[in-house]
């Protein structure tokens, strides 16, 4: 009897530990999750030293830190962001300047930085506890739910229109929301950055094949692209096996630019219906895309599981590869990528608008609705986003290391391009390709991904994750699109429902 009781007791504890989250302890043991303990030290100046601005920071190897800066006033701010180490130094300097400039108002500014992984968890905890920092991030995708749930306030009243008009047009639009539509109404955030997924080519492989470089002012058509890739797909060492390919593509991120450039949209205009089963541009573009692999112009599906496209690109095995703005620094580094390279546009399909399309991303600074000092918080946001010296530093004009492209348009086309051309900033010389995507022109256009507008991206997962079956020849494009649509629609319906439930 006692044994039986023990048994039931043990079963209960073991079972329930799953619910209490103990199942994930293995991850923690493995060192993935870092301690949740607060590493922030908030050290304020003591009595007589109050006039002096003091900075005290605790640096932790796990990427968490909090710096406290004090002024002479009584307004306190808590800034909570994620950043990489080298960015942090620059932004910390900006916050210091800000405290100096607003000395009489600022009591204390706590500048807390964490890693991207931990950021989301901590924010959920903050939201659940209703204890929000004054300044934090919002992505274009989250603006709607943050506003609907009353977490953030419009910045129009606090930041002057001139400041807002300095940044890329796109970033002026994507953080607007009028209660119904994103892209219209009040502005809720200023950009921390804007990035996009451009295309790159390995100049050395072009030279070796005796081919002309791609024209940055005229992206290839689908046909031209195949032609070039055929010439670049070769057996270099003559052992009978192909060891250099025209291109490598990662289905999750690198497929959509090919499709978008053929005018593909996965959802209808109000983002409620998946449109893939009877989508002619998609059929055409997906056939083109999967044929690249079927015809051997990319590594095979098996080869791709062994070594991903990114590694093959770094190793000089593929002539074309995707290049996010965040990849540029790595590709410019000779130790990482010992080849000459430059930017170009994604190939353009016959059924699109004749322009090369890609997706872009951004994250913005916003101000909490519970902030006691929204004015000061908004001023800080404006400083972080659009301070010219700050932007010179993060873009590399003054530091020689480009962490991101400038948010300020004039700075981008002016000083930044000059710095690229005269070699101060190591950057691909065809940077106009990226600016073209940002701004939109006769050749280029970029937009947020459709998954950015839906509550989550789950509806797109079945699509990209099964495309390898087409490449393998296990299913035709036509059959695939018929088969995947219901699953996508079900996930989209779920996302819409969650979106609608996102009100307090």
């Amino acid at each position: 009897m006692r044994k039986r009781f023990l048994g039931i007791a043990m079963a209960s504890v073991m079972g329930l530990s799953t619910v209490a989250g103990c199942a994930t302890t293995t991850v923690e043991e493995a060192g993935e999750a870092t301690a949740d303990t607060e590493v922030a030290t908030e050290e304020t100046a003591d009595g007589e030293a109050a006039t002096e601005e003091t900075a005290e920071a605790t640096e932790e190897s796990d990427g968490n830190s909090a710096t406290s800066l004090t002024g002479e006033g009584d307004k306190n701010l808590h800034v909570f962001l994620y950043m990489q180490e080298h960015e942090k130094k620059i932004y910390e300097q900006l916050v210091k300047e800000f405290v100096e400039e607003h000395k009489s108002e600022v009591g204390e500014v706590v500048f807390e930085i964490t890693t991207q992984d931990e950021y989301n968890q901590k924010m959920i905890a903050n939201m659940t506890a209703n204890d929000m920092p004054d300044v934090f991030y919002v992505g274009p995708a989250a603006v709607r739910s943050y506003v609907d749930n009353g977490y953030i306030i419009p910045l129009d009243d606090y930041v002057d229109a001139d400041t807002i008009s300095k940044v890329w047009g796109t970033t002026q639009t994507i953080y607007r929301y009028d209660g119904t539509n994103v892209g219209e109404g009040s502005i809720y955030a200023l950009p921390k950055d804007l990035s996009c997924f451009a295309f790159a080519y390995n100049k050395d492989l072009f030279d070796a094949a005796g081919l002309e470089y791609p024209d940055p002012n005229k992206p290839y058509t689908y046909d031209e692209f195949v032609e070039v890739c055929e010439k670049l797909t070769i057996d270099k060492d003559g052992d009978g096996e192909i060891d250099q390919w025209g291109v490598a593509n990662a289905d999750q991120f690198g497929m959509t630019p090919f499709l978008y450039s053929n005018g593909v949209k996965f959802l209808n205009d109000d983002m409620t219906k998946v449109n893939v089963a009877n989508n002619e541009p998609l059929k055409e573009a997906l056939t083109f895309y999967t044929d690249l692999t079927k015809n051997g112009l990319t590594p095979s599906v098996e080869q791709d599981t062994a070594l991903g496209g990114y590694q093959r690109w770094l190793d000089g095995q593929v002539a074309f590869y995707a290049c996010g703005t965040w990849d540029v620094a790595a590709f410019m580094d000779d130790a990482t990528f010992p080849y000459e390279w430059d930017l170009c546009g994604w190939p353009v399909g016959p059924s699109g608008d004749g322009r090369s399309h890609t997706w872009m991303g951004s994250v913005g600074y916003c101000v909490s609705a519970t902030s006691e000092n929204p004015d000061l918080a908004a001023q800080l946001v404006a400083k972080l986003s659009t301070d010219e010296d700050g932007q010179r530093a993060v873009s590399g004009i003054t530091t020689g290391e480009s962490i991101q492209l400038p948010n300020i348009v004039d700075l981008a086309y002016g000083e930044f391009k000059d710095a690229v051309n005269n070699g101060t900033v190591p950057y691909a010389s065809n940077v106009d390709v990226i600016f073209g995507y940002f701004d939109g022109n006769d050749n280029y256009e970029a937009a947020l991904q459709e998954t950015d507008y839906t509550y989550n991206g789950e509806w797109f997962t079945p699509f990209w994750s099964g495309v390898f079956n087409i490449k393998n020849g296990d299913i035709t494009v036509e059959e695939y699109l018929q088969q995947v649509e219901p699953e996508m629609q079900a996930a989209l319906d779920e996302a819409i429902e969650l979106q609608n439930s996102a009100t307090k």
């Binding site: 044994k3 048994g7 079963a11 799953t18 619910v19 293995t26 080869q303 599981t305 439930s501 307090k504």
Partner: protein, 305 residues
């Protein structure tokens, strides 16, 4: 007439000691309430909501709808099927563990070194060894296919890229990772069996198999029981190796486990309420299986007394 209260008098010292006793009891109790009971209750409530982490939990209670959805979700059942298939590794690990323990129980030279070697994977970081094995299983550059090619001259299987092979790979990995722990437990169990049982059997003329069948196996049954229970529970909670070796859940979601599915739902897709419901279902399953095991143990688990 009011009844008189019977007062139990305590000395001052006893009182003081009692207060200390309460304090000692309070520490684990408060810990349990905060870190077990509260999250459990919270997860139970969250599992009946459309909580996303951003919206309000209480404003989005939907009753048992998450549960109904999960039970109708093909992806959940696929992940559950895979989780159960992975459990093929449990008997394999137990048999191998017992054999190795019996070998190590003999006075062979270097057995301490061997025991340590078998135990190293157990104490190694799961993430680190998962990354290592992802390379061992690599299609073009992996150790296994390298050996295969050297022997047969042919290209080996696509360990992590094929729907069936990825399951085989995961089972191999899990057996390798857990073997050391099983060996140590069986070794301890073997060393607890009194020598005279075997001597008595020898006098009765029992052969090696009979001694194993009638002495070793029954007297190891408590260890077997323990290993079985903990492996089954651990088996339902497999996550890290899947996440590391096949970050998107394998080709056509063929390597994803229930916890992987849960994680994806809750933390990638922001469906914390739904994820909580998956956790509750998993807890119920583990509870039932463990309870069945305990009820069934009288049939086969023997102790020395």
């Amino acid at each position: 007439m009011a009844s008189k209260k019977v007062k139990v008098r305590m000395s001052a010292m006893a009182k003081r000691e009692e207060r200390w006793a309460w304090l000692f009891i309070a520490a684990p109790f408060v810990g349990f309430m905060l870190f077990m009971a509260y999250p459990i209750v919270f997860a139970l409530i969250a599992s009946t909501s459309k909580w996303t982490g951003i919206n309000s939990l209480w404003g989005n209670i939907v009753g048992l709808r998450n549960y109904a959805k999960i039970l109708a979700d093909a992806k959940f059942w696929k992940a559950m099927g895979t989780t159960i298939i992975y459990m093929i590794g449990i008997p394999i690990g137990m048999i191998l563990g017992m054999l190795i323990a019996m070998g190590l129980n003999r006075k062979i030279p270097g057995r301490r070194v061997l025991t340590t070697m078998y135990y190293v994977p157990v104490v190694s970081s799961l993430v680190a060894v998962s990354i290592l094995w992802a390379w061992v299983f690599n299609y073009d550059y992996g150790l296994l296919n390298g050996i295969y090619k050297a022997i047969t001259g042919l290209h080996g299987p696509n360990w992590l890229g094929d729907e069936t092979m990825v399951k085989v790979s995961m089972i191999i990995f899990m057996v390798w990772k857990g073997l050391g722990g099983t060996v140590i437990l069986y070794l301890a169990g073997l060393q607890n069996i009194p020598r005279d049982y075997y001597e008595a059997a020898m006098i009765d003329g029992a052969n090696g198999w009979q001694k194993f069948r009638n002495i070793t196996l029954p007297l190891l049954s408590p260890v077997t029981f323990y290993v079985l229970i903990t492996s089954l529970i651990g088996g339902f909670q497999v996550f890290v190796e899947v996440q590391v070796m096949t970050p998107s859940g394998g080709p056509n979601y063929s390597s994803a486990t229930v916890v992987f599915y849960l994680f994806e739902k809750a933390f990638t897709n922001g469906q914390l309420g739904y994820g909580s419901a998956v956790a509750v279902i998993l807890a119920i399953i583990i509870f039932i299986i463990t309870a069945i095991n305990f009820w069934g143990q009288d049939k086969w688990v023997k102790t020395i007394d």
